[in-house]
């Protein structure tokens, strides 16, 4: 038999990165490395001297020490990171979360050096990072925002005028702000001038920018955020919402999906609003649209986070979508392979953040497993937790058919987990799972302040009982 004109091609071409530089540390660096490995992408991790013996450094294909312990000389050292990416021939940089992940200047440097920043463009980061501009964009396009000023407030007189219009209480916010800085709550007209000046000064010191705007202060709202995913071909999808209301000093303690007590209509409304926000901003990559829900279930857009977030696994567990993989795919220019019709949110998932209260060496580690249990951590037996970085050392993400099953499973997980050698918040989280308001899903951002004392007293009670026994 003669075969002529035969073409057998045993491989296919995929436009994908060959090597990614991971500009982060800890559990998120490990998450990215694991995903890259599954995608046959090599990884180069940059690290500080303190992280030399860390798991991500061992797991990457290549590792390069770029500086001493202090973040500004290492994980925030833009030049050292770009230099390493160039010399190590990386086609892309994944910034993780925190550090340089929402730094438009860094994204621009990547663009200038022909390295793909795995995230939105520097322009988009600037645009959405300017909170007042983002608000205006949303306002002009039918996305509902917290009632407030349309433009930057020129002076105290204007502030007083606008506050009068909105109605007290109001929140004075820094446009370039974040992390609760440059923010002041004003309950009465008399306090406003002083607080306005204070907030302005704080903003100037923290962000070198004292542009201020004013929003209506919603007391103890629920913090509901929607995960969106967009490609570079104008496709935007939403992957459900997360309730992140339980926060201590503006730091989230836990997140869950779906949010409790939302009707299907309300859920769809919020989701559609998030997709609209993504479309009008020309978004691409993963992002989170943050909303607040007031006591009457009215929701308002606050801001967009233009990075992968700590709590992304919660959405992964209920939507069955690998968000890091998708983020890398769209960064490489591929079209989304999921549409909004394909998205299916099943069951329930809750993530608890485990925080180290002290630095130290892990003397004994046992991580829980079993059905519906996922642990994201960079810990190992003998690992030393240093004091230089974020104290979050592990995330436990539990899923199940319904919320009660998840909470029962969470209890078992927190009873099983062992992290000896340092102090953590595990006991607090465990006791939290017995709090009636938490069980009912009846909580808002005021929960921690109101209820933490009660939970701490339960812990003390049981300690005393043990002593007596």
């Amino acid at each position: 038999m003669i075969i002529s004109g035969l073409i057998i091609i045993v491989e296919f071409e995929v436009i994908m990165f060959k090597r990614i530089l991971v500009a982060n540390r800890g559990e998120i660096a490990l998450r990215i490395i694991r995903c890259a490995r599954e995608m046959d992408i090599e990884t180069v991790i940059v690290y500080s001297t303190a992280d030399k013996e860390s798991l991500p450094v061992m797991g990457a294909n290549y590792s390069v020490c770029i500086g001493p312990n202090s973040p500004k000389d290492s994980y925030l050292n833009q030049d050292a990171i770009i230099e390493t990416a160039i010399k190590m021939e990386c086609d892309a940089i994944h910034p993780g979360y925190g550090f340089l992940s929402e730094n438009a200047e860094f994204a621009k440097k990547c663009e200038e050096n022909n390295i793909t920043f795995i995230g939105p463009s520097s322009e988009l980061i600037s645009k959405m990072g300017d909170k007042q501009e983002a608000r205006k964009l949303m306002m002009n396009n039918g996305v509902r925002v917290v009632p407030g000023s349309r433009e930057i407030i020129k002076d105290v007189d204007e502030a007083l005028e606008i506050a009068e219009e909105i109605g007290y209480p109001v929140l004075i916010k820094a446009s370039a702000g974040g992390g609760g800085r440059g923010m002041r709550k004003v309950f009465e007209k008399e306090e406003l001038p002083k607080l306005f000046e204070m907030a302005k000064a704080e903003a100037k010191a923290a962000f070198a920018n004292d542009d201020m705007y004013i929003e209506k202060l919603i007391i103890n709202p629920r913090h509901i955020e929607v995960q969106i995913l967009a490609d570079k071909h104008e496709n935007v999808i939403a992957l459900g919402e997360r309730d992140c209301s339980i926060q201590k000093n503006n730091q989230k303690m836990l997140e869950e999906s779906p949010a409790c007590g939302l009707s299907d209509e309300k859920r769809k409304e919020i989701s559609d609003m998030a997709i609209l926000a993504g479309k009008v901003s020309g978004y691409n990559s993963v992002g989170t649209c943050e909303f607040v829900l007031d006591k009457d279930d009215n929701f308002y857009f606050i801001e967009m986070n233009t990075r992968i977030q700590v709590e992304h696994p919660v959405t992964e567990e209920v939507s069955n979508v690998d968000l890091i993989r998708q983020q890398i795919r769209v960064a490489a220019g591929l079209k989304l392979d999921i549409t909004n019709e394909d998205v299916s949110i099943c069951g329930h998932a809750i993530e608890f953040r485990i925080i180290a209260k002290t630095p130290g060496v892990i003397k004994n580690l046992h991580l829980p497993g079993g059905f519906g249990v996922r642990v994201e951590t960079h810990l190992y037996n003998g690992y030393e937790i240093t004091p230089f970085y974020d104290p979050m050392i592990a995330k436990v993400i539990v899923k199940g058919k319904n919320r009660l099953e998840v909470i029962r499973r969470l209890r078992r997980v927190l009873e099983e987990i062992v992290i000896d050698g340092i102090e953590t918040n595990i006991v607090f989280l465990h006791q939290l799972t017995f709090h009636p308001d938490f069980l009912k899903g009846n909580y808002d951002t005021g929960f921690y302040e109101k209820e933490s004392k009660k939970i701490l007293s339960w812990i003390n009670e049981s300690k005393n009982m043990k002593k007596e026994a």
């Binding site: 038999m1 003669i2 075969i3 002529s4 004109g5 035969l6 073409i7 057998i8 091609i9 045993v10 491989e11 490995r37 090599e42 940059v46 001297t49 013996e53 798991l55 061992m58 797991g59 294909n61 290549y62 590792s63 390069v64 020490c65 770029i66 500086g67 001493p68 290492s74 030049d79 050292a80 770009i82 230099e83 390493t84 010399k87 190590m88 580690l365 190992y380 037996n381 003998g382």
Partner: protein, 176 residues
């Protein structure tokens, strides 16, 4: 091309070390490519205690002979050092080969021994230096940073070749 010929070529290709083969014979085209999915060491075998605590048994997995494509750039042995050329500086070996004061890289970049290509190196092994003398250049983001001698003495060993990338705190030279 006869089917038997295709099988013969396929057979030879499989047994060879070649990763990719493209043939065109009288208008017929055929391409073969090997894709290997052997597990390489996920975590560097230098840290044996970590492997044990993870319960991974990595004996018997040969980290060479992976990835048979022609550009084999994945090197899982001691890749922290060999990634950019200098294999002599293995941190887990006790015999450092020098005993003097370590001159470490203060930043990440490319180390050069001379001020420009073709110029004489600033120092050689055995050169006498005074504190503050320029002994090398580390280039980063197109900026040339001078590496200076931290103390008086003689250059005992130079551990990094010209033009090689160095990481922060990497030992470049020793002074006795």
């Amino acid at each position: 091309m006869e089917i038997k010929e295709v099988y013969d070529i396929w057979d030879k290709f499989e047994k060879s070390d070649i990763g990719e083969l493209k043939l065109e014979i009288s208008g017929d085209k055929i391409e073969f490519k090997k894709v290997i999915e052997l597990p390489d060491d996920f975590i560097a075998t230098q840290n044996a205690s970590l492997i044990n605590s993870y319960g991974l048994n990595l004996q018997g997995i040969n980290s060479s002979g992976l990835n048979l494509q022609e550009n084999n750039t994945i090197n899982t042995d001691g890749f922290n050092n060999s990634a950019y050329g200098d294999n002599s500086n293995n941190p887990s070996s006790n015999n450092k080969g020098y005993s003097g004061f370590e001159v470490k890289a203060p930043l990440v970049g490319t180390f050069y021994r001379a001020s420009a290509p073709g110029e004489k190196p600033f120092v050689e092994e055995g050169s006498t230096v005074k504190k503050g003398d320029v002994i090398g250049i580390i280039e980063a983001m197109k900026l040339m940073n001078e590496l200076v001698a931290p103390k008086d003495g003689k250059i005992e060993s130079i551990l990094v070749d010209d033009g090689v990338m160095v990481e922060f705190d990497q030992v470049i030279m020793s002074i006795k």
